[in-house]
Amino acid sequence: MNYVSKVLAVIDKDVRSEYRSKYALNSALLFCVTSLVVVSFSLGGSVTDPRLQAALLWIILFFSSMMSLPRAFVKEQDCGTMNTLRLTCEPSQVFIGKMIINLLLLSVVTAIVSPLFFILFNISPPHPGFFIITAASAAVGLSAVCTLLSAIVAQARARGTLFPVLAFPVLMPVFMVAVEATGKSLLPQSPWANSQLLVFLACYAVVGIVGGSLLFEFVFNE
Amino acid sequence: MNSEWQTVLICAMVVLLGMVAYLVYLNIRLNKVEKK
């Protein structure tokens, strides 16, 4: 099998097992919806400052990815299928496959949660295009880094608490810039003057993918 | 230089002296252990 088909095989395996159980998707969605309800209820929809709205949205998305993304490798480790992956594929194929899985998961969750968020907080985003590009490039960077980190965490103890601890400092730039850019997209004036924020997110995504692929083989191979 | 600053200076010098003394002591101890 050539390179691409192996990557697709990795993705396919995960998509199928996910389709059977829908565990990761459901738990991520459930967490997001729950925290969304809590936030919306406690604030009573009275949040009008776009920066605060942006921050709330990204906090919810962020914490849900802290919970759901590590599962990419933890499941493999626990079920003993890590060695199968090691034997059949090159590390970079596993990395890209897993990254695409995480990206899909993150995209689906974001696509469902963001409209809900806007509805609950009575926001009609004036510049949806900007927001979508922000969310997409942030998601790529997030999934690249989180895939690498989940491989690290799968080999450690205390995974649930270790993953956010490791992830947050590294993902801070994405978080900060995403909140900033989303805040700008919720303001009435045109956010495209701030396109350097999008460039930043794109650069981070590229560095995340490149760095992740380079470092992944050290984590994966023993 | 008033007395407040003098106090600060003296305290700081004491701390520094203590640090250096500790490092020298550590050096001696390490030498002993590594020779074994």
Binding site: L149, P169, P173, L215 | M1, L9, V20
Partner: protein, 220 residues
Amino acid sequence: MPYIIGTFIFTIMSGVLCGAIWFTPPAKVLGETARVIYFHVPVAWISALAFSMSLWQSVQYLRTNNPEHDIRAEVSARLGLWFCVLATITGAVFAKAAWNMYWNWDPREVSITILLLVYMAYFGLRSAVSDPETRMRLAAVYDILASFAMPFLFFVVPRIYSSLHPDTVINSRGSNKILDHRMLLVFFAALIGFTLTYFWIYVLSIRVERLVRAREESDE
């Protein structure tokens, strides 16, 4: 021989202390509080230096798999963390004295918070892995990953936040031009003195760590 170096370091550092308190004039705008510059900046610089050294050693470890590099990476990370804590505390004290608030989330403060979190996460990772070889490998990877992310923070934060918030640290430094040659002298002496002190502690700590690990291995 170490006593000569030790004496030299002691002389420089005590000179710096006396100089900081006695010899240099107070700054134009900030007054006596500016004296912290002689301590705060060198400590922050050493923290960054330690982190770079740790990064280099982590890369070397992944290349050669020699545990010596991991010892150096861990030791420099540990020292870097301590100096980072010192830098944060001195910075906060200075902020309170100069602008009446301990913490303002301006770019410098954000960066140093992230640096602290990265260091602490590094040690969290180290303590969470039981197998020594895996521990060294994963720690090295995390070190490198974190330093991929750092430049984004250090170069982006000023660009974003300058549009919205005033930068308290840089503004004050701009109006507080260190032109007085006495201040420059003490400042550079402080930089040199602190760096030498750091390397002294670093060399000793490596020897200690080597012994600790040897003892742990013989215990098993």
